[in-house]
Amino acid sequence: MSLRWMRGVRWVRHTLYLLLLVALMAAGFVAFLIQTGAVERWARHELIHQVELRTGTRVELHGFHLHLWHLRVELDGLTLHGLEPSDVAPLFYAKRVDAEIRIVSFFQKKIALEEFVVEEPEVAVRIDKEGRSNVPQPKISSGSRPWRETLFDLQIARLELRDGSAYVNNRRVPLALLGRNFQFQLHYDAADGGAYAGSVSWEQGELASWHDTPFRFDLVTKFTLHHDAFEIDQLICKLPHSELDVRAQLTHFEQPQWSFQYRGRLSLDDVRTIARQPGVPSGIADFSGQGEYAAGEWKASGHYAGREVQMRDVWYHAAKMESWGDYEIANGVLVVPNLGIRALGGSGEGRLEMKLANLEFHTETRLHGLRLSAALAAVDNIDFPVDTLHWDGLISVDSVNTWTSNFKHFRTRGTSQWDPPETSAPGMLPVSAHLIFDYSMDRRNIDLTQSQIATPKSTIDFDGTLGAVDSALELKLQAANLTEWDDFIDDLRGPDSTPSLFGGAVTFRGRIMGPLGGPTFAGHIHVAGAHYDRAEWDEMDGGLEYSPELFELTSTLLRRGNTSITMNLNLWFDGNWGFVPGSQWSIDARTERAATADLQTVLGTNYPVSGLLSGDFKGGGTRAAPTLDANFSLDEARIKGADFNRLSGVLHAEPDEWKLSQAELISGTGRVAGEVDYHPREQSIDFQITGAGISLENIGAIQNPKLPVTGRLDFELRGNGPVHAPVAQGDFRVTNIKFGSEMQGNLTGRVVSDGQRARFTLTSGMLHGGLHGDVSVGLTGDEPLSGEIIAQQIDMDPFIVSGLHLKQLTGHSSVDGEFHFSGSLMKPDTIEVTAEISQISFNYEFVQLQNDGPVKLSYRRNEVRIDQAHLHGPNTDLQLNGSARFDRDRPLHFTMAGNVDLRIAKGILPDLVAQGRADVNVSVEGTISKPRITGRVSVRDASATYADFPAGLSHVNGDIVFDRSRLLFDHVTAESGGGQLTLDGSISYGEGPLRYEINAVTPQVRIRYPAGMSWLAGGKLQLSGTSSASILSGQVEVKRVLFAEGVDIASLFASASDTVTGPAPSSPFLRNLSFDIAVRTSPGARIEWTSAHVDIDGDLRLRGNWERPILLGHIHLLGGEMAFRGNNYQLTRGDINFASPFRLDPELNIEATTLINQYQVTINFSGHASRLSLNYRSDPPLPDSDIIALLAIGSTGEESALRSSNSSSQNYGATALLSEAISSGLGGRIERLFGITHFRVDPFLSGTATESNAAARITIQQQVTRDLNVTYSSNTSASQYQLIQVEYAVRRDLSVVFLRDINGTYGFDIKFVKHFK
């Protein structure tokens, strides 16, 4: 380290010490100055000097306190005197000023005010008539002033003016400001004679001068103050949602005249917040314009456009409204001559005037195209739920509206026209109306003059006043159906009411009174086809009053069908439409032979009671505690299916007691009378009932269609106590008891109850045998049951027939035995019945069966057990024991062993008629639905036929083996139709329905089917399927077909076209049986019938079913002979083809020849059997008419036979006369149209409704020769319906008439005509 460096360090150290000393001395000096108040005095002096210098005022200051260390200044009693006289208020005065200073830049000597609070400031500016004010000019000398001098440059972080006032010529403006970032600059421009230029910027200001309501705003303004004028170069005021931009100019203080231009956006939300008026709607208005203020008057003009206007008033709430127009303000009146409005889907135009002094509005508007649905939604509220009317339409309104500020004293009057819309939303009703209205907010009512509203099904005419306090509206409502008002009515009833369905054609004439929030409807109502929920009636007519306090019907008639009720009804509500539990009510009603079915429909009930009700009914009390007194009679009563002539009595009902006195129930000769007093709360009853002459036929509970019970019941019963355990006693007697047609005798009994147990004692007076016993039933707990009934020689026939469905009883049956009961009625599973039948016998299908030893049965828990049963009879000796249950899957356990007479099998298979004997040894297990039978039944020399089956079996021998689920035919042989038959196969019964797989083989049997035919055939047939669908298939070879004498083959073929050719079988099995059998003829096969035989060769297939058999294939008629209508025909050729798979309608082509009177006549049948045509030809050739005559008259050898049919010809006389009459009617018309005397064309050829008439068969009348006239009638759809008349005139007065009538009988008349003069 060098010495030089050390010297330098020492110099620096000494300098620092010196500087420190100087600083300490300076600080001490300053502290001295402060302590002595010199600084404060200097600062006060300097402040006053600078203010006076910069403002030109004279400053008075009562107190000055400088808190140097806190940089805070407090001024008390600051007064700035301007140019005003001394006896008036100074230019500025503040009671106190607190300022907190913040040094912005120490070196630039720039400071700011952190806080500036002025308490009770008062500014008083006076401007005289010459435009001079008391605002002085700065005292700065002009020579030393720059061109532009900054007088003030204040930055105040927080500015507050408390409780101040500003006066401009004694006009006070409150001063109460609070804001931040207040900047104020004021410059003085020396040019142009000197002017002050200033700017004010204030953020987050709060102005408390507007109705003392503070609101925040940002304000930026620039101004210039000339010595005789004032200019606001720009003033921008921003509210939260609004903005105003103004430029203003005061041209001369001497003649003050403001002119200004402005534009801005006003949000009504800001107005609502600032003015604290919740009723002010929402919306935005853009406006711009210009104006001026001079001589105390404002003038302005401009344009505004309001949008998104939304009203929130309870009685009017709508959104998205718009308004626009040009306005002018003059003479304190704002006028919008071209007011435009768009709201509620429509638009309008009009004129608006508003007096600015009191904001008094006056508008004249013409609106059109407004949507009614939107308008109703806008006025809908809980007291006026019109939205639920679901109305829609287009509204036009011409109205004049007036109000003062903020819709005060609002009034609107005018006319409104509603027209149906072109289209409506689903569920909306098109409405038309004409309204003349006058609404006054002050009066709180609306006058409606001779107005009308019409919906598709309703018309409302009204005239009067609806008011919030009181209404008086005359109303006439005509509704074809009230249902379209349902939602509105439900809403009127209140939000807690259950929606109900009202309907009917209503006419109401009356008035609406009272406040609109709770109106009273009073008038006369008539409803046709009325219904209220499920209650319905044809007509209702009466006086109605409906209000929040009362629902009243007076002198009201309710009618449904022949039922009518007249009544007065009062329901007192709780003041708000509510019918609460404590609400009073009363009813006084009368009805005369009213059908209860109608009454129940009216009341919406569904009790199992019907009849004709008459009586007086009076009710009252409260809803929670109603009472009812009735003196009633119910004629032709039907109660729970039982018919009675009359039920009458006096009923008193209240919550704690139901008392029926003088009660009488009459049915035929039976009568039940008594009194019943029931106390629901205590569940106790006191009764005394007697019955006499009661027919058991009328007691449905004991009737069974298969086992009708008749007799007469008399009883007497009295008791009291708990309903389910009364102390009671009574006697009953049933006389002349008949089960079915069997007279059983009399039965008497007594019942005694001590409140704990009821004991029934039975004593019989039966015609055969006897029945007596005691049964005891406990009335408490599980109601234990015990007792016994002893039967002696009781006739069991009706019970066996109806209960066991065994109708083939062929003799008397009887039973002796004891039946014991035990268990509990409340627990049916515990009920046990044991029976020991010492003797039982019955005769079934002439098989007399009787027991050997006692038959022991027991029943418990749905199980019947046969402990011991041994029955014997002719060919029968059977032991039976086991059990069967009737619950779960109904299991079976039975064994049967012994011999059985097969006649009994008819009880199992009703269609089976069997004889013979079988050895049985089987056991049955499984369930009733799936029995498993094992064992064997051996049949010896039995016979059987089944229902309508054409072949029966005889000499049946073999074993039938039961193999759990199958029945097997084990070497079963039988004889049928003279041939031997072998059966094998099985019947499955284990799973589902019975299933057959049975084969039958026979070399040759004879089958008689259908009636009159006998087939000799052999082959193999197989039956397979079930009872509901089975098929008989196989191959059969036919050797011969025989027709019994009298069988009409022609008719057989003619009727073959019917869709049902087989006889309707009585057996369901045969009805469900289908065929698939191939049938071939054996060589030399032939068809034979009386005096005829035909050799055939055929190959057929039988399909279809028993009722509709279908044959397919062909039969060739190889040759043969037959006698037909008295002639012997040689069959020359023939074919029968069965081609239709849908019906048995073969196509025939058969030709036969015969020789008549040396003419060989050939007849040809051709076509389908249903439309067979017959052609004739002869050799030598003859006309058809001659052939017909030949066939009809036959040879002379036949005449004697024809004469025997004389009576038929006589009947034909009547027929011919009538036919001639009919024919003449038809022929006359034809003659008129076509001029022909002979009726040549039958108009009723097939296909007309009168085809079956006799006239339809009159077709041909041919004059063959001069003396011979042939009339031939043929129904073309049925060739056998032929009528032939041949009239031969022997002489002029003698003729012979040969007849063949439609029935195929022949006759002849000899007519002799003698004329007398």
């Binding site: 050739p1181 006309p1183 058809d1184 008419s1185 006589q1210 009947n1211 006389g1213 009547a1214 027929t1215 006369l1217 009538l1218 036919s1219 009459a1221 009919i1222 009617g1225 038809l1226 006359g1228 018309r1229 034809i1230 008129r1232 149209l1233 076509f1234 001029g1235 022909i1236 005397t1237 002979h1238 040549r1240 064309v1241 039958d1242 108009p1243 009723f1244 050829l1245 097939s1246 296909g1247 007309t1248 009168t1250 008439n1253 006799a1254 006239a1255 077709t1259 041909i1260 041919q1262 073309t1276």
Partner: protein, 232 residues
């Protein structure tokens, strides 16, 4: 010259077919024999009568006359034929207006077959047709027409032809029973024949109503008999 020749040729080519067609139309509706346009043409048919806005042709008159001759052996006078054709026209118009269905082809064939079978033989039928100047087609047409019109009359008037029991009783007592007794026939009970009697009375009522209707309708029709037999 050549130009004139070509124009004339073209006009002739254009007017030639048109003139011929015009002539044909005039010929079809010509009613007077004097309107023969040229010696080589013949009158195929003629208007026998005008009825409303329709006509009855001579061929229709001839066909009906032939049909009567075929059936009854002789034809009625022309006035009767025209009246019958007019009646047919009335009934046919009513039936067409009512869209009454034509007889099926099967019915037409059956009616024709039945009609032919009334003659001794097909040859006899052919011979008589030729004598009456009828063809098979015309006979078929007439038979079908007879079937159609008679069915329509029944359809048209049967619903209105109501017969009560008293009328049946009266007919039975006053007409039926006396006639049978006059013939010496036993009289069946009313129950046996009342259905048939009812049909007789229905037929009478139908005829009466049809007669009245035809007469009334004819009275309101504009019928103009053009020429008595000139066309036939």
């Amino acid at each position: 010259m050549l130009r004139n020749f070509l124009i004339s040729g073209l006009l002739a080519a254009l007017l030639g077919p048109g003139a011929a067609r015009l002539r044909a139309q005039t010929h079809s509706f010509s009613t007077l024999p004097v309107l023969h346009l040229s010696g080589g043409e013949q009158t195929v048919d003629g208007v026998a009568a005008r009825i409303e806005d329709d006509i009855l042709t001579e061929s229709e008159v001839r066909e009906l006359a032939g049909y009567q001759q075929l059936v009854d052996g002789k034809a009625k006078p022309r006035a009767d034929l025209l009246r019958e054709l007019e009646d047919q026209w009335i009934v046919r118009g009513e039936a067409k207006t009512a869209k009454f269905p034509e007889p099926s082809a099967e019915d037409q064939q059956r009616a024709y077959t039945e009609f032919v079978k009334q003659f001794a033989s097909p040859e006899d039928f052919q011979r008589k047709c030729a004598a009456a100047g009828l063809t098979e087609t015309s006979v078929r047409r007439t038979v079908t027409e007879q079937l159609y019109l008679s069915r329509f009359i029944d359809y048209r008037f049967r619903p209105a032809a109501q017969v009560d029991d008293a009328q049946v009783q009266t007919f039975y007592q006053n007409e039926f029973a006396p006639q049978l007794k006059a013939r010496g026939q036993p009289v069946p009970s009313l129950d046996e024949v009342q259905d048939t009697i009812r049909e007789v009375l229905v037929q009478r009522a139908i005829s009466a109503r049809a007669e009245k209707w035809l007469d009334d309708t004819r009275a309101h029709l504009k019928i103009d008999i053009v020429a008595a037999g000139s066309g036939s």
